[in-house]
């Protein structure tokens, strides 16, 4: 069983650890999208920079099913932690523009999936196309938009995307972007937004870190590494110095 540290060692440890808590200011390198004294925005007030209103409605609804909030059980959800804001921000990052990737033709679309992605789309385009085709699929199947479906029906749509049971080609896709690829991007970006440092726009107030017990950017454990099978007592800190 995990045990608690005894009081004396715990006190000494807390003293040392607090002395090492980070500077709030960062210089160069990392771009600051938020700072400790600038509170994280409310999702409801947020104006997406990249996604259109229609796309945004889809994203909110989908994220809510991928990581549901408190009502569905313990722990914050994707919407509680501003995951859609994170994804919107990523669309304008080097990642969203595929800035570091090799994007030269010819694009060979019939190779083995084990050789990695080959279609000519940046993540921005994957979202735009993926959302549009998913909405077309929902209209076909249910005569409604994704966000108008009830939760179970939304889950079935997401399951169909995941299993590649939605035929993107029949919905107009010409470059072999597959439903499962779109779903995989959406899911991994959702988890990233949930679990990454709040500096990137999601993980509001480090709620997911508190839930799992990850101490964030503390990055200093010489005093703790020899405490085996003992629960770590301190909450997380973020890159901007926010404490939880």
């Amino acid at each position: 069983m995990a045990s608690q540290p005894d009081n004396a060692s715990r006190r000494a440890f807390l003293r040392n650890s607090f002395m090492m808590i980070p500077a709030v200011s960062l210089t160069g390198g990392v771009s600051l999208t938020a700072s400790a004294d600038e509170p994280a925005p409310n999702l409801g007030d947020y104006q997406p920079a990249f996604f259109s209103d229609d796309e945004w409605s889809f994203l909110l609804a989908a994220c809510d099913r991928l990581i549901p909030g408190e009502s569905a059980g313990k722990g914050p959800g994707a919407l509680d932690t501003n995951v859609p804001i994170f994804i919107d921000g990523q669309m304008d990052s080097p990642y969203g523009h595929a800035e570091r990737w090799y994007m030269e033709g010819p694009y060979v679309l019939d190779g083995s999936p084990d050789l990695g992605f080959q279609y000519p789309y940046t993540p921005r385009e994957v979202y735009q196309k993926g959302i549009a085709m998913t909405q077309a699929y929902c209209q076909q199947q249910h005569g409604k938009r994704f966000e108008q479906l009830d939760g179970d029906a939304q889950d079935r749509v997401l399951q169909a995307l995941e299993a590649n049971d939605v035929d993107f080609a029949s919905l107009g896709e010409t470059q072999k972007l597959e439903a499962s690829e779109f779903f995989a991007s959406l899911l991994s970006n959702t988890k990233e937004g949930y679990l990454a440092d709040p500096i990137h726009g999601g993980n509001k107030h480090m709620a997911s870190w508190k839930m799992v017990g990850f101490p964030g950017a503390r990055a200093s454990f010489r005093d703790w590494v020899d405490q085996h099978n003992v629960e770590y007592p301190l909450g997380p800190v973020s890159l901007t110095g926010e404490r939880g």
Binding site: A2, P22, A23, L26, G28, V30, R65, L66, I67, P68, G73, K74, G75, G77, S93, P94, Y95, A98, E99, R100, W101, Y102, M103, E104, P106, V108, G111, P113, D114, L115, G116, F117, Q118, L187, K191, E192, L195, A196, D197, S208, W209, M211, V212, F214, P215, G216, A217, A219, S220, F221, R222, W224, V225, D226, Q227, H228, N229, V230, Y232, L239
Partner: protein
């Protein structure tokens, strides 16, 4: 007409581990040395706390790594498949920028065994005819343990290697690796602290009769001043090590161990954003006249030099040789040529073990944290009985505990409420049992130039042909069975496993390792090696090629101790003999 820079004595292509070592050695010899690095400059300032503690930026988006946009690799699994470009990084993560992959490596700093250096000799003694696949092309390195030992020792002092000595001048020492080759000196520093997983692994391994010891580490356990006068501070187990720059001056890297000393020297200079596209050869093709690079403004520049050191990482070194016409490209059908021959890699596999009631605190860890045993490296067990050659390092390592990459049981839901429940239940309750296995070299595992795709400078991309072969599948199955026995002792509440078994093929999409080796291998026979045993091109004598490219096949552990030792070994020969009398250091006959 390319712009031309003033001549230097030696130009080094790439400023990672091997480039930094060569810079030190050649400036020591009094040469004027210039290093050309394609990426950005990176100093310790770039790694100031808390910048590196950002999993998304470094762990996931690969901000410190090679950009496929600038230099992609095309990949196929066999000679008949159409190779496709690896458009975003996956299986391996080469470095980019000053420090190379050495700035974001994990820092497991381990030697090969004496047998690993002479694997062909060992195979001929230990295996009957027909046991091994006939398309295997394994070879001896052409350099012996005794020749390399002083260079291992020196590099380990440069890095402040931390660990427990197992064999000191032939005397076996308690707590270390009894199977290691004899060391002339003990480890510079004691081992890193144990963690929950290493203690559990050690106990189970001992119970089964194995000989566990701490992962040899280049994350230093104590303050250390290295032979160049560079100072490292004790590792603080920050949990952001593998894939990250060190925020604490504790991880041995070109920055922390070499570059600040090297940059002080007036006969050393370096330029960043200098992407070398080819080595230029004299009209007779027997010597290099310098290199051509494209600078940050997109301008082509010719840099004349008396000597060219290719220190741009195994894959890039081979590509530069091919793009420059140095040596004869390998032809897998005729089995002629040497450049691109014997590309090899490393095979992994492991068992994830989850314990409901144990706190592993995986975030409180150093990159190299772990325990391993070497009972299954070549010569220590009868692999012939199981139909394969090679071995594996068996270990439980814990390189980091960052949450995006945290593993969850295979049968846990990957989204929805079940995902959230699993994340709460399993984060911090996991340890891994792993094998890191050797990979032999084969006729059709190779590198050449891609016929279709080019980089932004118009140069052909490197094409990799690689797949797992029967020998490695068998090795994996054998090691899996041994790891299962360890898991049986540990009795996790839940476990799952993944191994590359019969029928599985190389996938480029998920990380395997950045232990790409071979392709311009060293040796004593010019028909089967691209460089001689001093890492000198057989064909163009003023070109030296230090890097993992020199391995004729891969052994069962991390490559950098051997890469660095070979680099020092090559530099010694350059200093002692080549500079006095430039020319081939070995004759072709």
């Amino acid at each position: 007409m390319a712009k031309q820079q003033p001549r230097v004595d030696a130009v080094i292509v790439g400023l990672g581990w091997t480039g930094s070592i060569m810079g030190m050695e050649l400036t020591d010899a009094g040469l004027n040395v210039l290093a050309l690095e394609r990426g950005e400059d990176r100093t310790n300032e770039d790694f100031a706390y808390p910048k590196p503690a950002d999993e998304l930026q470094y762990g996931i988006r690969h901000t410190m790594m090679q950009k496929p946009k600038q230099s992609a690799v095309t990949i196929r699994r066999n000679l008949d498949e159409r190779a496709l470009p690896q458009r975003k990084l996956g299986a391996f993560l080469p470095g980019d920028g000053v420090g190379g992959a050495g700035a974001h490596w994990t820092g497991v700093l381990i030697r090969p065994t004496p047998t690993d250096l002479q694997l062909k000799t060992f195979a001929d003694q230990a295996f009957g005819k027909g046991v091994l696949q006939d398309d295997m092309q394994i070879q001896d390195f052409g350099v012996s343990w005794d020749e390399l030992e002083p260079h291992f020792s020196f590099f380990e002092k440069v890095c402040g290697q931390s660990g427990t000595t197992g064999n000191l001048n032939g005397q076996i020492q308690a707590g270390g690796d009894p199977f290691e080759g004899p060391r002339s000196e003990p480890y510079p520093l004691p081992a890193l602290q144990d963690t929950q997983n290493t203690q559990m692994f050690e106990k189970a391994a001992k119970q089964l009769g194995y000989h566990p010891f701490p992962n040899p580490s280049a994350n230093v356990s104590r303050a250390w001043t290295n032979p160049y006068g560079m100072q490292l501070g004790p590792c603080n187990y920050c949990g952001f090590c593998s894939r990250y720059g060190c925020l604490n001056y504790s991880k041995a890297s070109p920055q922390t161990c070499i570059l600040n000393a090297l940059k002080q020297r007036s006969n050393f200079d370096y330029r960043t954003n200098a992407n070398v596209t080819r080595v230029e050869l004299a009209a007779d093709g027997k010597t290099a006249t310098g290199v051509t690079y494209v600078d940050g403004n997109g301008e082509e520049v010719f840099q004349p030099a008396d000597m060219v050191i290719l220190a741009s990482y195994a894959l890039n070194n081979v590509r530069l040789m091919l793009n420059s016409g140095i040596g004869q490209p390998y032809d897998p059908v005729a089995r002629t040529g040497t450049v691109g021959r014997n590309y090899s890699y490393q095979i992994g596999g492991g068992i994830n073990c989850y314990f409901d009631d144990i706190e592993f605190n995986p975030f409180a860890t150093a990159g190299a944290t772990g325990k391993m045993f070497n009972d299954f490296s070549p010569g220590n067990f009868d692999s012939a009985a199981h139909g394969f050659i090679g071995g594996a390092k068996m270990h439980s390592s814990q390189a980091s505990g960052t949450p995006i990459k945290t593993p969850l049981p295979k049968d846990a839901p990957s989204w929805g409420q079940g995902y959230k429940d699993a994340l709460q239940k399993y984060y911090g309750h996991h340890m891994k049992l792993s094998m890191t296995g050797s990979v032999m070299s084969y006729r059709s595992n190779m590198l050449d130039l891609d016929p279709t795709w080019k980089d932004p400078y118009g140069m052909p991309l490197l094409r990799m042909t690689f797949d797992w072969k029967q020998n490695e599948h068998r090795l994996s199955a054998f090691m899996r069975d041994r790891l299962r026995e360890i898991a049986d002792v540990l009795k996790p509440d839940y476990r799952d496993e993944s191994f590359n078994l019969e029928g599985s093929h190389f996938k480029v999409t998920s990380y395997v390792s950045t232990h790409n080796v071979g392709g311009a291998v060293m040796g004593t026979d010019p028909s089967t090696s691209a460089v001689n045993r001093y890492l000198q091109s057989w064909d163009v004598h003023n070109v030296f090629v230090p890097g993992g490219n020199a391995f004729p096949q891969n052994f069962q552990a991390n490559p950098t101790d051997l890469i660095a030792a070979l680099t020092y070994w090559s530099a010694k020969k350059i200093r002692e003999d080549y500079l006095k009398n430039p020319g081939p250091l070995m004759s072709r006959s």
